[in-house]
């Protein structure tokens, strides 16, 4: 049930993205890609938190929006300053995504093992 919902929302998003006629303006595309990375980080963080049972919808939503906006803004600021600030966002969010995925994987494996033993 759970993975199905996610797969469905991804497929739906892809479809909508292709159907709508708009494209991201080229000059903005770099910033948007950093923002997407930040959003992905928030998403995976949210998933991890829900497995942890520490999920808070307000924290999640605010993090999702603010992180994305801030990351995009930092990339823009970095370009204006002639400094590749977006690299900082890429490194930080990239690392966090991998960490969170690793934690989630461990939790899921442990849950799986527990269920096996109970049986």
């Amino acid at each position: 049930m759970l993975p199905l919902v996610f797969i469905f929302s991804i497929l739906f998003g892809v479809a909508i993205g292709f159907i709508i006629p708009w494209q991201i303006p080229l000059v903005l595309s770099k910033y948007v890609s950093v923002a997407i990375l930040a959003a992905l980080d928030s998403l995976i963080g949210g998933l991890k938190a829900s497995l942890d049972n520490t999920f808070n919808s307000k924290i999640f939503l605010s993090g999702f929006l603010l992180n994305a906006l801030l990351a995009g803004f930092f990339a823009y600021l970095g370009d204006m300053l002639g400094l590749d600030l977006y690299l900082a966002a890429v490194v930080v969010f990239g690392t966090r995504i991998f960490q969170n995925i690793a934690i989630m994987r461990r939790m899921l494996l442990m849950n799986f093992n527990k269920k096996k033993e109970e049986r």
Partner: protein
């Protein structure tokens, strides 16, 4: 407490000042070499798009001016004068031209480059297009276009990497060179031209694509270049 706020204020002002100075430096001019690969591609696309829009605006203005002039032309004399100017412009490449003529089509070879062969022979180069235009002119072509671009007297055919450009506009292969003129003499000159014999040789050996076709009706659009008539005086 007050002290802390004061400190923060001073510190933020300094930071803001630094950022501001830096911004002024880098925004005023775009340093191309400092930008990454993709950024330049993006910038190029943006500039190209805005150039095209500008071109469209200018074309619109030209049409409006033409309309206004036609409204103003009080009598037959003025109309004749306007027509004379239009004919001259068309001769220079800045007016629509309709007539019979032929079309030469050139395209890169789609054969694989054999070992020991120079890939140079498998491609169409800007110099080929210049040479074709030269040959067509010697056959009395009155108007020529390459792809969508009409040539004027001062047209330039250049290339950036593998992309051929006419008057700064990219032309996509296959390259269609249309010429208005007497089809018989144009075809004759092509048959006898040593340059076309060389192209035929390349076609047979390396597979570049070459075609010549007579067309009963060709319409050439006006050149998109701006006609610059400053810089010189006409002597009687």
């Amino acid at each position: 407490m007050r002290n802390i706020i004061f400190f923060f204020l001073v510190l933020s002002i300094i930071t803001g000042l630094l950022i501001g100075v830096q911004l002024k430096n880098s925004v005023s001019k775009i340093d191309l070499s400092a930008m990454g690969d993709l950024d330049i591609l993006f910038l190029w696309r943006e500039v190209e798009k805005s150039t095209e829009e500008l071109q469209k605006e200018n074309n619109g203005l030209k049409n409006e001016i033409k309309k206004l002039e036609n409204e103003i032309s009080f009598d037959e004399d003025t109309t004749a004068l306007l027509k004379k100017r239009e004919d001259l412009k068309t001769k220079a490449g800045f007016g629509t031209m309709i007539g019979t003529g032929l079309v030469v089509t050139l395209a890169d070879s789609n054969q694989k480059v054999r070992e020991r062969d120079d890939p140079y022979f498998y491609l169409i180069h800007d110099s080929y297009l210049r040479a074709v235009v030269n040959v067509l002119k010697s056959g009395g072509a009155r108007g020529i276009s390459i792809g969508s671009e009409r040539l004027n007297i001062g047209s330039k055919i250049t290339c950036v990497g593998k992309v051929i450009m006419v008057d700064g506009k990219r032309i996509a292969p296959p390259y269609e060179i249309k010429a208005i003129g007497d089809p018989v003499s144009l075809a004759n000159i092509i048959r006898t031209s040593s340059f076309f014999r060389m192209l035929e040789h390349y076609r047979d050996n390396f597979g570049i694509q070459l075609g010549v076709k007579i067309l009963p009706l060709i319409e050439l659009p006006p050149s998109q270049e701006s006609l610059n008539l400053e810089l010189f005086e006409v002597l009687p």
